[in-house]
């Protein structure tokens, strides 16, 4: 950091996974070349940082001290950018972030709505430090909390602060962290373990990945404090095999800590010993479950065990073990430094502090966001997320909590993202995956997707989970392929309750949630799939007939070009039509049409002639309206 302070400007190039894949390394190279050409390399520093959050706009770059934010950079933009901004002091508007409707450039990062509404605690260092340099972490108050905990605090004091902060496990279940630590502290044992769960398996979630990649030292510091609080001397970080960059950066961070005397024997001269190892997972979703994860570290099949006792009593190798999620640990140092009251100042009484969400799906600003826990879903989706990405599409549901969670419809958008409020909707906060869906999504299809996931990932130990999810999946497959029967919805609900009641671990107990919530909020879609053999958005191929509304079609020809089976005919600027016999129901035309011209009719309409089709289309639109009301 000392070196950097001499620079008159610093370029923070994002090197999160998203930006790296859109060539941010190349961008950095070109910047360095250009700086050299203009002999600016001694005046201006270039730093590779962890994920800065706005993944949709990558590769991104922020120039400090002004905080000017540039997005979607290409190597050929760089010479101009360096010349204009760094040499002549004229920021380049063309490369700044723009709100699509307004077209006005927003120069600084903190004015961009995506960032403006966020409160950064866990992610406070994102985009500001080089995650591979311990000095930069230390310069941002790093390891001060660990030093305080090791030298000035008793284990009981640490546990008390964490308990008072109200911090709850960020992995999904929301168990109070302080209580877990207290349990582990009170138990006498010759050995205790601290384990960090970085087996982020929920599809659609990448919070832990980003924290491990952007600020690995924060996780390690949290673990050191936990070790002191529970008097443990050995720890593991369990990281998914799919996260090679996270493993690399954690390993660098751990090596630096050993060198700096922050890990190993006699940490900071306090006489406290603490060793930390990385353990790479091997691709089994169930290993995110605490007991399965510990089995996996022991080198066995990762299968859960009955929770006759808590892990804090008997965990890894039957020793007391504190297992917390990456985000939970990353919260700890700030709590120790700023106190419990500071932490409680955000959120609600029962859900304190902030939560990191991975915001993805059919939304404009895809990325990583950290918000106070009392923020509403609406603010997150519309103000931070920027609303639906595709023009003319409306919000339909947001999926929270991955395969264990559920789909929340529009009517609940004004609830806060607290553990309690989300649970009431039938979903869970979970680890923080938040997938927004627009009105072109089929909710039966979404339920099937998640069940396909859990049925495949069930470890097989409990029959209800192994076979029950399979039977439910078969039912859903039948429904989406036109073989649905009356009574299927009831069977799905019954099976769901049985699986929830009789499974051993969280995977089985929560696997039916996506089905239950979609039945609860989108029952009409199930009904139309089963009774009318009609997927109204055309996702389920066998239950859809695509038809062009000639009254609206402007004959732009986009669908005609996009159709893979050349089933669309028509002259330019005249209404097109689909030859049903040639149509393969791939839905491409529906997706590319900008005028909402493509209508979806039940499968039966494929046999109708043109006149009948028109009539049917008119009828069904009216009918659909009535039916929706009836069901509700």
């Amino acid at each position: 950091m000392a070196e950097q302070q001499q620079y008159r400007a610093n370029l923070m190039v994002c090197a999160g996974t998203s930006c790296v894949s859109s060539e941010s390394f190349k961008i950095k190279e070109v910047i360095e070349e250009e700086l050299k050409k203009r002999e600016l390399e001694k005046e201006i520093g270039v730093v590779l940082t962890g994920c800065s959050g706005l993944c949709a706009a990558g590769p991104v770059l922020t120039i400090y001290p002004d905080g000017i934010f540039y997005q979607k950079l290409k190597p050929e933009d760089i010479p101009y950018l360096v010349e204009e901004h760094l040499l002549k002091g004229r920021p380049v508007k063309r490369l700044m972030y723009k709100i699509p409707e307004k077209r006005a450039a927003i120069p600084t990062m903190m004015d961009i709505p995506f960032y403006k509404h966020q409160v950064l605690r866990v992610l406070r260092n994102k985009g500001l430090i080089d995650p591979e340099k311990i000095e930069e972490y230390i310069a941002r108050d790093g390891y001060q909390a660990a030093a305080k905990a090791l030298t000035q605090m008793t284990p009981e004091e640490i546990v008390k602060i964490v308990t008072d902060s109200g911090l709850r496990g960020r992995g999904g279940a929301g168990f109070p962290t302080g209580r877990k630590w207290e349990l582990a502290l009170k138990i006498e044992a010759d050995e205790k373990y601290v384990v960090c769960n970085g087996d982020e398996g929920d599809p659609g979630a990448f919070m832990d990945r980003s924290v491990m990649e952007a600020d690995p030292h924060a996780v390690i510091e949290g673990m050191i404090i936990c070790a002191k609080a529970t008097q443990s001397h050995h720890a593991y970080i369990y990281v998914r095999a799919e996260y090679p960059l996270a493993v690399k950066r954690l390993q660098i961070a751990i090596d630096q800590c050993y060198e700096a005397g922050l890990l190993g024997k006699d940490i900071l001269g306090t006489g406290f010993d603490f060793d930390l190892d990385i353990y790479q997972g091997a691709g089994a979703f169930v290993c995110g479950e605490a007991t399965a994860l510990m089995r996996s570290i022991e080198g066995k099949r990762g299968m859960p065990r009955p929770k006759l006792w808590r892990s804090a009593v008997k965990g890894l190798w039957d020793k007391p073990t504190v297992l917390n999620n990456v985000e939970t640990f990353a919260n700890i140092p700030q709590i120790i430094l700023n106190g419990a009251d500071w932490y409680r100042s955000l959120g609600t009484v029962k859900s304190t502090g902030t939560k990191v969400f991975a915001l993805t799906g059919a939304i404009r600003n895809v990325g990583l966001v950290e918000v106070p826990m009392d923020m509403t879903l609406r603010t997150i989706i519309y103000d931070i997320g920027g609303g639906m990405k595709k023009k003319g599409r409306k919000f339909k549901a947001v999926q929270l909590g991955g395969p264990s969670g559920g789909c929340i419809p529009e009517e609940f958008l004004d609830i806060p993202v607290t553990y309690e409020a989300i649970e009431k909707t039938g979903a869970i906060v979970g680890s923080g995956g938040m997938v927004a869906m627009d009105d072109s999504s089929c909710m039966v299809g979404v339920a099937k997707y998640f069940l396909d996931f859990t049925a495949d990932e069930s470890c097989g130990k409990c029959v209800p989970c192994r076979i029950g999810t399979r039977v439910m999946l078969d039912l859903l497959t039948d429904i989406t392929e036109g073989r649905g029967k009356e009574g299927d919805i009831g069977t799905l609900e019954d099976l769901s309750h049985d699986i929830i009641a009789t499974s051993l671990c969280g995977l089985g107990q929560s696997a039916p949630n996506p089905v239950l919530t979609t039945i609860r909020y989108f029952r009409d879609e199930y009904v139309s799939h089963i009774r009318d053999k009609w997927c109204r958005v055309g996702v389920c191929r066998d239950l859809a007939t695509f038809y062009i509304d000639e009254k609206i079609c402007k004959g732009c020809g986009i669908c005609l070009k996009a159709c893979p089976s050349k089933a669309i005919i028509g002259e330019k600027k005249k209404p097109h039509k689909i030859i049903q016999e040639l149509c393969v129901h791939c839905r491409t035309c529906y997706e590319v049409c900008r005028f909402n011209t493509i209508k979806v009719l039940p499968a039966a309409a494929r046999m109708a002639n043109e006149a009948e089709l028109m009539e049917l289309a008119g009828q069904i639109e009216a009918w659909a309206g009535i039916e929706m009301e009836e069901v509700e």
């Binding site: 990448f206 080198g299 799906g361 998640f450």
Partner: protein, 296 residues
């Protein structure tokens, strides 16, 4: 049935050799005798024996020394111990050297025959150590594997890390490699196999030079990964989990790559390819094909 089976009886008491020759010779075995360890080694240097019956206490070169030499130089030879007063230590040492059985002295003809028969049966059933085909697994690869196994041996919970490293070295985990790891770590083959079959990270099938991992996460699903998969299948002419005929590509599905900002996304080797569209697929794959193929 006893044709061509060569047995060497080693004992410093000539009477033992004589009676063994009489009893076993009558059954058609080809029996020879040696009066001590040294003579036995000299005889075995010249000729291969299927089974050695040896006393433990002999002057000069004793039975244990002889057995150590056999294990090292003639590992395929079976050993049965004939002994009068076995002490616990010597029997323990003999067992560690992998003896098949032992005959207490004095013995009746029936006992000697029975033990010999059973020892030979046991040897027949003994699966000779599978030769690792050199073309597929070069010795340098295997010695690297053995080095890793040695590094992790005796560390608790080391099976999964060893398998991960092994897969890096070999590319996949066929049964023969699993067996070698099991033996090296001193765990059962079943244990190793149960882990390999449980975790999706491990592959028992050979993989292509380039591994295409397609993300089937929620964000990718919502953004249409299915069309990309269809295109990939058509382009590579393989199914999910398959490998191309030229072994250049194999395709696997991954639950979530955690790069949802780029959905739909796939990873080829270490490179992430995001915001995929079916029409981009062919171009991306071309990057991994040899240049000559593009020009022809």
């Amino acid at each position: 049935m006893a044709e061509n089976i060569k047995i060497l009886v080693v004992d410093d008491e000539p009477i033992v050799i004589r009676s063994a020759k009489r009893i076993l010779g009558a059954e058609g075995y080809d029996v020879e005798g040696a009066s001590g360890g040294r003579e036995a080694i000299i005889m075995m240097e010249k000729k291969n024996y299927d089974l050695v019956l040896t006393d433990l206490k002999m002057p000069e070169v004793d039975g244990i020394t002889l057995m150590r030499w056999i294990r090292k130089s003639r590992p395929e030879t079976g050993i049965v111990v004939i002994t009068g007063y076995p002490s616990q230590e010597t029997i323990k040492e003999a067992l560690e050297l992998g003896i098949i059985d032992y005959v207490p002295k004095p013995f009746t003809p029936a006992v000697l025959l029975d033990v010999t028969h059973r020892a030979l049966e046991w040897m027949k059933g003994k699966i000779p150590e599978e030769e690792i085909p050199k073309e597929e697994f070069p010795p340098s690869m295997i010695s690297e594997l053995d080095r890793v196994i040695k590094e992790y041996k005796n560390k608790p919970g080391s099976t999964i890390p060893v398998l991960q490293r092994a897969q890096e070295i070999v590319g996949y985990l066929p049964p023969i490699i699993q067996k070698r790891i099991a033996r090296g770590l001193n765990v059962s083959t079943a244990d190793v196999h149960s882990i390999v079959s449980f975790y999706s990270f491990f592959s028992m099938k050979p993989r292509g030079e380039h591994i295409v991992k397609v993300c089937l996460g929620t964000a990718c699903y919502v953004k249409g990964i299915e069309a990309v998969v269809t295109k990939l299948k058509a382009e590579l002419k393989i199914e999910m989990g398959g490998i191309t005929d030229d072994k250049r590509f194999s395709m696997e599905s991954v639950r979530c790559l955690g790069a949802c900002g780029l959905a739909p996304v796939m990873v080829i080797d270490q490179d992430t390819h995001g915001t995929l569209e079916p029409k981009k697929v062919a171009q991306i794959l071309d990057e991994y094909r040899p240049v000559s193929k593009e020009t022809t």
